[in-house]
């Protein structure tokens, strides 16, 4: 079954870097995004399942808030 998983921002901040692109194959724990948080830290976003990037919903420099969808991942169960 194909299923889309959401990658969600847990922070308030700004997208510092995007390490993936549409269609990228991602592995468990791989760094996908870095977020420059409001507190001034750089936080890395990774994902617990391997799959393919279905779409990226944000761009570098964009403001994010907790709950915002950063990307959809196509996974296989």
């Amino acid at each position: 079954m194909n299923y889309k998983e959401l990658i969600i921002s847990p922070y308030y901040g700004q997208i510092a870097e995007i390490y993936i692109e549409k269609g990228s194959r991602i592995n468990e724990g791989e760094q996908l995004f870095s977020i420059h948080t409001l507190e001034g830290n750089i936080e890395y976003i990774s994902f617990g399942i391997y799959g393919y990037i279905h779409s990226i919903e944000v761009c570098e420099g964009e403001d994010v808030i907790p709950g915002m969808v950063l990307a959809y991942v196509q996974t296989e169960f």
Binding site: Y3, E5, L6, I8, G48, I49, E57, E62, D63, I65, P66, G67, M68, V69, F77
Partner: protein
């Protein structure tokens, strides 16, 4: 126009407009005719209807006023003497009070009144006299005449076409059934004219005027319904219907794709919404309660978090957000901005999907997957382990289970192990499984049988030597087993056979963890796990002085006692089946043991333990005539010596007391035969001497009475 009409011809009374005012007025006042024709340059261009002027007008009329009151001559119908009148001329006649008459030379010879002209018209034989019908059918509008009983009494073809009906159906039909009854009632009750009423039914779309017909008392006596065909209206109506259907379908489709769809304006006010509502999300029972409310304010009040409208307004692009309510609802909201032609946000379409359950299931699934992966790894580990030597250790007895558990516990440590057990119990196999189960599984494993080689050779094999250490040595020198097994496991089988001189050297290796090759003075540090094995009683050897006590303690760190096969008979069938299957596979045969044969194997003593069992099975298979190996065949092959403490064997069913008697007899005879005296026999049989004596006498007596038995 014929001669009868000529009688009604009235000569023209003309006044010239070119004449001076005074003369004009003189002529005017002198005239008694009803119609005065005005001429300019001797040409009639207009006429005055004197009867329509009131007294004052007649009195004060001058040239200028005459000009304004005059009707242009071209408005009046004309007819020619001798030629028939057409229907179109008739409308002209009806429109004006008079009709001018011309002679053949196109000169006006006079005029006739309207009534006379019409009479003349109806007199003409070639003209259809159903004038009303002609008029009705000439009008490009539908006309329906309704009487005071509100029934349709007349209509035209165009009307029938427009309402897609037939004359028969319409005539005497109730007008309210075809047209709007409410409007008809209004016209009858108020006398007002209703214009431009759009009347749409499934197959028609028309524009309808409802106009009253009044009688002489000004009462509404009937209606004229004028219908205009509006194909465009019809089309539009159809389109509206189509759009409405489409809307319903789209709503249904959207409802299946998303749980809820909202449209808000740029201020965040909710304009439109789909029919469905995500339960427990908004804190309202019906989504209609949200109509006209501002989502930004709802979001501010903390019904759910975070806001979707604000980020879309700020970013001016599609935003997806996972929203949560305090009650634990999780909703995925996707906000899509819609821009106007100036590039400003006009609307925001928000699609919501309830992912509470999905999120929950997803988390569960993720956890299950994690567990599955762990289990899989564990299984893989177990499988890998079983693939090696521990798989070859076949047992079901609790005694062996204890041994195997001990081996598994040992796996994480590098402790020196001493395997004790009789010859053939599988000590080497156990050593190999300790290696394969342990941390050093991927490091070398070397086995040396200390009893199999001479002292000097053993020394050089174990510790190695440097080049030129002794005559006949390899010129390059030799790396010893200790060095070769560095980081791995060295198995010293028959460790009891190590000569005393080497025992010292071995002790040093174990203590110092370094090895000095023969002929070298330099010690090489090594890290080797030692597994030693012996079938001899090392403690006794220590007592006797043939084995160094300190070495014994050094190697006896973790002793593992492998029980002999006779102490765990339950393992025998398993092992027997295993070996027989090995042989069957190897030689593509199908040998098997009869149940009795298995029992017989179980009761056997197996002094050579598993090695003996393995060889015995091979012998049985090779020598068997039949695929089924019987108990008798096994009995022949095994040496059930009188000295062996085997379990008695019964091969057929017989009464219990008889069996006991037989057994007693056999035992006593056997014991007496071997030990000669009843005292000794009693000791061996562990019963009283008197019992042996009594039973023996009884047997002898029986034998003399019945010498055949």
């Amino acid at each position: 126009m014929n001669a009868t009409a000529l009688e009604k011809l009235i000569p023209l009374t003309c006044i010239s407009m070119d004449a001076p005012e005074k003369e004009f007025l003189h002529e005017f006042r002198k005239s008694t005719a009803s119609f005065l024709f005005l001429t300019k340059k001797n040409k009639i261009h207009a006429y005055l209807n004197i009867d329509e002027l009131d007294n004052e007008e007649r009195f004060s009329l001058d040239k200028k006023m005459a000009e304004t009151k005059a009707v242009p001559i071209k408005n009046i119908g004309e007819c020619k003497l001798g030629s028939p009148m057409s229907f179109a001329q008739m409308f002209q006649i009806m429109g004006e009070h008079i009709t001018l008459v011309k002679n053949d030379e196109d000169e006006y010879i006079g005029y006739i009144n309207r009534v006379d002209a019409l009479i003349e018209l109806f007199r003409q034989e070639n003209i259809n006299t159903d004038i009303f019908k002609v008029i009705l059918s000439s009008i490009p509008m539908g006309i329906f005449i309704v009487d005071s009983e509100r029934k349709i009494v007349n209509c035209n073809e165009s009307g029938l076409k427009m309402i897609k009906s037939s004359y028969e159906k319409v005539m005497r039909a109730k007008s309210g059934e075809i047209f709007n009854e409410e409007h008809i009632d209004t016209v009858f009750s108020t006398g007002e004219t209703l214009l431009n009423q759009i009347h749409i039914k499934e197959d028609m779309g028309v524009l309808v005027d409802y106009s009253p017909i009044r009688n002489e008392n000004n009462e509404v006596d009937g209606l004229i319904i004028i219908v205009q065909d509006l194909p465009m209206v019809e089309e539009m109506a159809m389109e509206i219907e189509y759009v409405r259907d489409l809307n319903t379908d789209l709503n249904a489709i959207l409802a299946t794709m998303y749980d809820e769809i909202l449209v808000v304006n740029k201020e965040g006010k909710l304009l439109r919404h789909s029919e469905s509502l995500i339960h427990d999300f908004w804190g309202v029972k019906d989504i209609k309660e949200l109509e006209g409310k501002n989502l930004l304010e709802i979001e501010k009040s903390g019904v759910y978090n975070p806001s979707i409208v604000r980020p879309v307004l700020e970013k001016k692009k599609k935003v997806s957000i996972v929203q949560e309510t305090p009650a634990g609802k999780t909703v995925l909201a996707v906000g899509n901005p819609i821009f106007n032609e100036n590039g400003e946000i006009h609307r925001i379409v928000i699609a919501l999907r309830d992912i509470t359950e999905t999120t929950m299931l997803k988390d569960e699934l993720r956890e299950t997957k994690r567990l599955t992966r762990n289990y899989k790894n564990e299984l893989e580990k177990l499988k890998n382990k079983n693939n090696t030597y521990s798989r070859q250790i076949i047992y079901c007895s609790s005694k062996m289970e204890k041994v195997m558990n001990r081996i598994r516990k040992l796996a994480d440590f590098d402790s020196t192990v001493l395997i004790l057990g009789e010859s053939g119990v599988g000590k080497e196999l156990i050593a190999r499984s300790i290696h394969s189960e342990g941390n050093r599984a991927h490091q070398p494993y070397l086995a040396v049988n200390c009893g199999a080689i001479t002292e000097d050779l053993l020394e050089s094999e174990l510790f190695g030597y440097t080049k030129g250490a002794f005559t006949g040595a390899d010129s390059k020198g030799k790396v010893g087993y200790f060095e070769q097994a560095n980081h791995g496991v060295l198995f010293l089988d028959e460790v009891s056979e190590i000569p005393p001189r080497l025992q010292v050297k071995l002790l040093r290796v174990l203590q110092e963890k370094e090895v000095t090759p023969v002929g070298s003075t330099k010690a090489i540090p090594i890290d080797v796990q030692i597994i030693a094995a012996t079938n001899r009683n090392l403690e006794k050897m220590v007592e006797e002085g043939s084995f160094r006590e300190d070495l014994f303690y050094r190697i006896n760190v973790i002793p593992i006692q492998v029980p002999p096969l006779r102490e765990r008979p339950e393992d025998i069938p398993l092992l027997a089946f295993h070996f027989i299957q090995q042989l069957n596979e190897k030689y593509k045969k199908n040998y098997h043991l009869s149940p009795d044969a298995v029992t017989l194997l179980e009761v056997y003593d197996w002094p050579g333990n598993i090695r003996e069992l393995q060889n015995q099975i091979e012998r049985l298979v090779v020598t068997a005539d039949d695929e089924v190996i019987s108990a008798e065949f096994v009995a022949h092959s095994l040496k059930f010596g009188p000295m062996k403490r085997t379990k008695p064997m019964v091969t057929g069913i017989l009464p219990m007391h008889e069996a006991k008697e037989h057994l007693e007899e056999q035992l006593i005879l056997l014991a007496m035969k071997q030990y000669k005296t009843t005292t000794k026999a009693a000791q061996v049989l562990q019963i009283s001497q008197s019992a042996v004596s009594r039973k023996y006498q009884k047997i002898l007596k029986k034998q003399t009475n019945n010498p055949d038995s």
